[in-house]
């Protein structure tokens, strides 16, 4: 081996060790464990595909998956549209840009646990700030934290408050759209909407696609805010409408110590995320415009 190659692998060694020991190994171990019954204390029992058939007939697992998919389907498009609107606004904010950007970003800096604790109060059906604002303009004031129909929309509202990081990503993409393209279109007499649709949107489509993929993966794994608000030690039982997939996975693994079953749930989530990402990739080939194509 050339000394250069040896040195290169030396530099790479932390990641190589970590990849094998803390990524690839655990992913494979999760798969193997999903065919076992393991509670940490007693020895491992091999149960074949029992964990998977259990998951298929487990109504809590169904609810958790349905809640998570519902939330993701609602939140991801809304977050992209909101972030795009804010990014466009930011782009034309002139001197206010710095302040407005900071304001939008403050919620992102707020720790998720703190956001959860705060929105538990803001969303309160009787005394919450959100309902008093909605009531002031005669809009319906649902019980966001207790009505099973409104719990997930409430969580979506909370998540939209922290839309600042997607906004910044789209804003950075907007800033890279060459001004001469827009000016050329202006000279050709294209209106604002056509300039946006035919020039800006294609130019920033890679950033939009990236945000969709990353946001979807994150939404399917939503945990901290929801666990903070509805789980842990509570005097009332947690509402099933707030049971998210990773919350259920966490409960099975670290509260029930059903490690084998939780491993099967992990592996299923892994497959779901890969499938969703693959679909998004396939769709993106027709919609996303890469410069240089």
């Amino acid at each position: 081996m050339r000394p250069e190659t040896r040195a290169a692998y030396g530099f790479l060694s932390p990641w190589l060790i970590g990849f094998v020991g803390l990524t690839l190994g655990p992913v494979l171990a999760t798969f193997v464990m999903s065919f076992s019954d393991y509670d940490v204390l007693s020895s491992t029992q091999w149960v074949g595909t029992e964990n998977y058939s259990d998951a298929l007939s487990d109504s809590h697992a169904h609810a958790a998956l349905a809640n998570t998919l519902f939330y993701t389907a609602l939140y991801v498009p809304l977050s992209i549209l909101t972030a795009l609107g804010l990014a466009l606004l930011l782009h034309s904010a002139g001197r206010l840009k710095g302040v407005f950007r900071t304001v939008i970003y403050l919620p992102v800096v707020t720790p998720p646990v703190a956001t959860g604790v705060l929105f538990l109060q803001l969303l309160n059906g009787q005394s919450g700030l959100i309902n008093s604002a909605l009531g002031a303009v005669s809009l319906p004031t649902p019980n966001w934290t207790t009505d099973p129909m409104w719990i997930k929309p409430g969580i979506v509202i909370m998540s939209l408050w922290s839309v600042g990081s997607v906004t910044l990503i789209l804003f950075a993409a907007l800033a890279e759209v060459p001004a001469h393209l827009r000016e050329a279109a202006l000279v050709d007499g294209a209106g604002a909407w056509r300039r946006f649709y035919h020039i800006t949107l294609p130019m920033i489509s890679p950033a939009i696609f990236f945000s969709v993929v990353v946001n979807t993966i994150a939404s399917l794994q939503l945990f901290s805010e929801v666990y903070t608000m509805y789980f842990g030690k509570t005097t009332t039982p947690p509402p099933e409408a707030a049971l998210f997939y990773v919350v259920y996975l966490f409960q099975q693994a670290f509260e029930e110590f059903e490690m084998g079953y939780a491993a099967a749930l992990s592996w299923l989530l892994f497959l779901i995320i890969m499938a969703v990402t693959a679909v998004q990739l396939a769709v993106s080939r027709r919609l996303v415009h890469y410069r240089g194509d």
Binding site: Y9, F11, E183
Partner: protein, 307 residues
């Protein structure tokens, strides 16, 4: 996510976000109707700013209210109750939790910055067989859901005897992290090759190239990495929930969850205490943002240009 797109002249993303500043301070070229439009934009910005900031104002206000006033939604607390904070400091190991968060956050950030920089330099400086495939693996591992590794990782730390300690909260960072490896590699590739070649001629070893040349020339990228990871570590709830049992070892987010469980909905519903604790958890992140917001926002903007 084609990897060849990352071959843009390095550090371009960092430079790009700087251009932003220049581009948008220039006045709008459309004179007529420009003022009406500008006022409309400013009014919208103002209204939306209230939407984003008011929840935080409400929080601070509630934390200074006596219990019966917490939900009156008044902007200014009347009377002002300072006892909520005294209660948090007196009855809870809040300073201890802050200290724990600092220790864990600094360890996590230092570990990930050094290890990711090492790996990034390996990818940026050397030419070797299999490099592109390995780098594609780095990028691919960014997409891996953490749930897929959660349970075996817990069992590894358990076997090593580290469950119940703070070690699992940061030690995984010793092996680098994909996003930071990507970010730092971009930056290293932008450094002039001649500087390294000259040092080689003078007899410098590969590690000296990294330690004495690459690192000192990359302070902005290292700062972004350090600060983003410090922030990520500071706000994490899942790992402290999984690994910590002893209240004295809690980090702030885990501590706040315990406050909610014992004073809020799992306890006597002393929401004024919960809100004071919440302010104390949020405040350090806002201070960090005030000092290093530029780096945080730059790092986020870069993450979108991976494509």
């Amino acid at each position: 996510m084609s990897t060849d797109r990352t071959n843009v002249p390095a550090a371009a993303p960092l430079a790009a976000s700087r251009d932003t500043e220049a581009a948008s301070t220039s006045p709008s070229p459309h004179g007529a109707g420009g003022w009406a439009r500008r006022i409309a934009v400013w009014l919208t910005c103002g209204a939306l700013s209230v939407v984003f900031v008011y929840p935080l104002v409400w929080l601070v206000s509630a934390s200074f209210k006596p219990r019966q006033d917490v939900f009156n939604n008044k902007l200014i607390p009347d009377p002002v109750e300072l006892g909520n904070y005294a209660k948090v400091i007196d009855q809870l190991p809040f300073l201890r939790w802050t200290f724990n968060s600092l220790v864990v956050g600094l360890s996590a950030a230092t570990a990930v910055t050094l290890s990711s920089a090492l790996v990034a330099f390996g990818f940026a400086y050397f030419q070797f067989k299999g490099k592109n495939a390995l780098f594609a693996l780095v990028l691919g591992s960014m997409m891996l859901p953490s749930a897929a590794t959660l349970i075996p990782t817990y069992l590894i730390w358990d076997r090593l005897g580290f469950t119940g300690t703070q070690v699992p909260l940061w030690a995984g960072n010793l092996f680098g992290s994909a996003f930071y490896i990507f970010l730092l590699r971009q930056f290293f590739r932008g450094l002039p090759r001649e500087v390294f070649d000259a040092a080689r001629v003078d007899g410098a070893g590969f590690f000296a190239l990294f330690w004495r040349i690459a690192l000192p020339m990359s302070k902005p990228a290292l700062a972004i990495t350090f600060i983003l990871e410090f922030q990520a570590s500071w706000v994490d709830l899942l790992k402290p929930l999984v690994y910590l049992n002893d209240t004295n070892l809690f980090t702030l987010p885990r501590g706040l969850k315990a406050v909610l469980d014992n004073f809020g909905q799992g306890g006597q519903r002393e929401w004024e205490v919960v809100m004071a604790a919440n302010v104390l958890v949020v405040l350090p992140m806002f201070l960090l943002f005030a000092v290093a917001g530029k780096y945080i926002m730059q790092g986020i903007s870069v993450s979108g240009s991976k494509e």
